[in-house]
């Protein structure tokens, strides 16, 4: 398997990473080297093996449906890139 320039461009878009043509080319060769390493995995027969998502077979805990978080808007917005009147500002998305 080998990733094409188009594949890498698509992945960069999905990952929301702006990349120049030069960066795409570098990424392409590095990703192909890494997928060369990963390819070894494909030959393994895993018929009947259940996927393991993490080490301890625990189930999601449930809690009472009550408010547990206090309002810390000022503290959180103090470190935001751009806020106005208690709102996080982003570029206009709807014309």
């Amino acid at each position: 398997m080998s990733l094409t320039t188009d594949d890498v461009t698509k992945v960069a878009q999905l990952a929301r990473l702006a990349m120049s043509e030069q960066e795409i080319a570098t990424a392409q060769s590095q990703l192909n080297a890494i997928f060369g390493l990963i390819a070894e995995m494909q030959a393994v027969d895993t018929t009947g093996i259940a996927p393991m998502s993490h080490a301890q077979d625990v189930v999601q805990r449930l809690r009472e449906d009550v408010v547990t978080e206090t309002n810390q808007r000022d503290a959180f917005q103090a470190i935001a890139p751009q806020v106005e009147q208690g709102l996080f500002l982003v570029p206009k998305v709807i014309e």
Binding site: V11, A15, L17, A18, M41, V44, H54, P91
Partner: protein, 484 residues
């Protein structure tokens, strides 16, 4: 004072031979002198540290101190600490002053320990050399032309250079054990779920685990008593009885069965590392242990499995860094999508972007089963290898890293070479087992070698016992780098 164990420091503080303010200032002065050579710390905040020390002195005077009250502990910059710049080694968080404490941080605060500073690390914990930090590479105190390992490289260098009494690290694929080995210190990655991940900036959530790094197993035990424990804010935190991790330190090792995986002593292992590790095994036999050869047949597959699962989880976790609520935002952009793409492109370094792209690809439509699910299935096979092995032995031993510390820049351009150096550590994360590294001698160029000890689930107290008994019989752990 800089060679004292945590227990000795605790005794000195209790006996009022030194105050916490004095001790903290001694460390701050030493950091001011030596850190420019090592770059082990990203952030120091003497005002906050000394305020904690003053409070600790009051607590000591009032007679309600804990084992760590007043002792200066460094924190890996992956842990959010209220009022502290918390960068995770990234430009993305260059201005992130955390509004809250990680669980591990609040545990140390409750114990009255002093946060001495935030240690340097590979960006978002992605790296094995500490060269991916936005804040510059850390240098190995044993040879400043060499790397300290990673990702907890700043912590390892700080402990080795006596720039803190002990410190925290995190380990997703070896990030506590490998830098501990390369810097000649002790480090423990606990069983997955023992230390809370709350407020620890996420890399690969099913593998990330916090743990202590220090100069001896005894120090690690005292650190574990503070760090471990159930936390409802971490969905994979395990509810367990409180343990005293120092309880078994004094037990003799007679009858201990050590498993040696033949795959860990095969091609790829440096001769100098093999020699030091074999000498350590011989020392264990003198202490009454017996040795059995075991097999972990899927060891080789742990690298491809890890480099699918960890980037997949990372690509998802790091999607939160979008320049909207916190962290870096690009100065110029045309619209919302452009703001995301430029903020992320400028805020993340090359290795982080590479892993985000691997993860995005393996999770994308049409490839999920072939990569992610296949990797999770092999992950189970790897865990089963350990289950089988532990039927024949109590602990597994081998090298932590195939070589001693390499030179800065030596592997910088070749991610695959860097990934291959994780061969002995990552299977432990995939299985969720506890693993540690302790110093066991010196290899080529007089650089430290680490012995890895892998235990069964929740066997940390026994592993600390196994390490401590070795450290009573040898003095590798008390060697300090000269010439700083």
């Amino acid at each position: 004072m800089f060679e004292s164990s945590l227990k000795q420091l605790g005794n000195a503080l209790a006996a009022r031979q030194i105050s916490s303010v004095e001790l903290t200032q001694l460390y701050l002065d030493r950091i001011a002198k030596l850190n420019p050579q090592l770059n082990a710390y990203i952030t120091l905040n003497p005002e906050l540290s000394l305020a904690q020390a003053k409070a600790a002195d009051e607590r000591l005077a009032a007679g309600n101190a804990t084992a760590l009250t007043g002792i200066p502990i460094a924190q890996k910059d992956i842990f959010c600490a209220k009022g502290w710049l918390t960068t995770c080694g990234s430009k993305m968080l260059h201005n992130f002053v955390s509004p809250y404490d990680a669980h591990v941080i609040s545990q140390f605060n409750n114990a009255g320990a002093i946060n001495l500073g935030k240690t340097n690390m590979d960006e978002f914990a992605m790296g094995s050399s500490n060269e991916t930090s936005h804040y510059g590479a850390v240098r190995n105190p044993w040879d400043t032309q060499r790397v300290p390992g990673g990702s907890s490289g700043g912590t390892a260098a700080a402990v080795a250079a006596r720039l803190c009494a002990a410190a925290t690290g995190t380990d997703t694929g070896g990030s506590i054990r490998q830098p501990a080995a390369l810097c000649g210190i002790s480090g423990l990655k606990p069983t997955y779920g023992v230390c809370s991940r709350y407020g620890m900036i996420a890399f690969a959530s099913s593998l990330d685990q916090a743990g202590p790094m220090g100069r001896s197993a005894e120090d690690l035990a005292l650190m574990m008593n503070v760090m471990a424990g159930f936390d409802e804010r971490d969905s994979t935190s395990l509810p367990r009885e409180t343990e005293n991790y120092a309880r078994d330190l004094g037990k003799p090792l007679a009858g201990l069965r050590i498993g040696l995986p033949k795959e860990f002593f095969a091609e790829g292992l440096g001769g100098d590392v093999a020699q030091a590790v074999e000498a350590a095994i011989a020392e264990y036999q003198k202490l009454g242990a017996t040795v059995v050869e075991i097999s972990l047949p899927n060891t080789r597959l742990s690298i491809p499995v890890y480099y699918v699962l960890a980037p997949a989880e990372a690509s998802s976790n790091l999607s939160r860094f979008d320049g909207v609520r916190y962290g870096y935002r690009a100065p110029e952009y045309s619209d919302l999508a452009d703001m995301y793409e430029k903020s992320r492109a400028q805020g993340f370094g090359a290795e982080v972007k590479r892993r985000i792209m691997i993860g995005t690809y393996v999770l994308s439509h049409g490839y999920y089963d072939a990569y992610y699910i296949q990797a999770q299935k092999i992950r189970r096979l790897i865990a089963q290898d350990f289950d089988e092995a532990f039927k024949q032995c109590d602990v597994i031993m081998g090298p932590t890293s195939p070589s001693t510390a390499f030179k800065l820049g030596e592997k910088g351009d070749d991610p695959v070479q860097m990934y291959l150096s994780d061969i002995y550590t990552i299977a432990v994360n995939l299985a969720g087992l506890p693993g540690m590294s302790i110093p066991c001698g010196f290899g080529a160029n007089n650089m430290p070698v680490g012995l890895q000890i892998i235990g069964n689930y929740f066997d940390e107290a026994r592993m600390l016992n196994v390490a401590h008994q070795y450290q009573l019989a040898t003095d590798w752990h008390s060697r300090a780098p000269q010439g700083l």
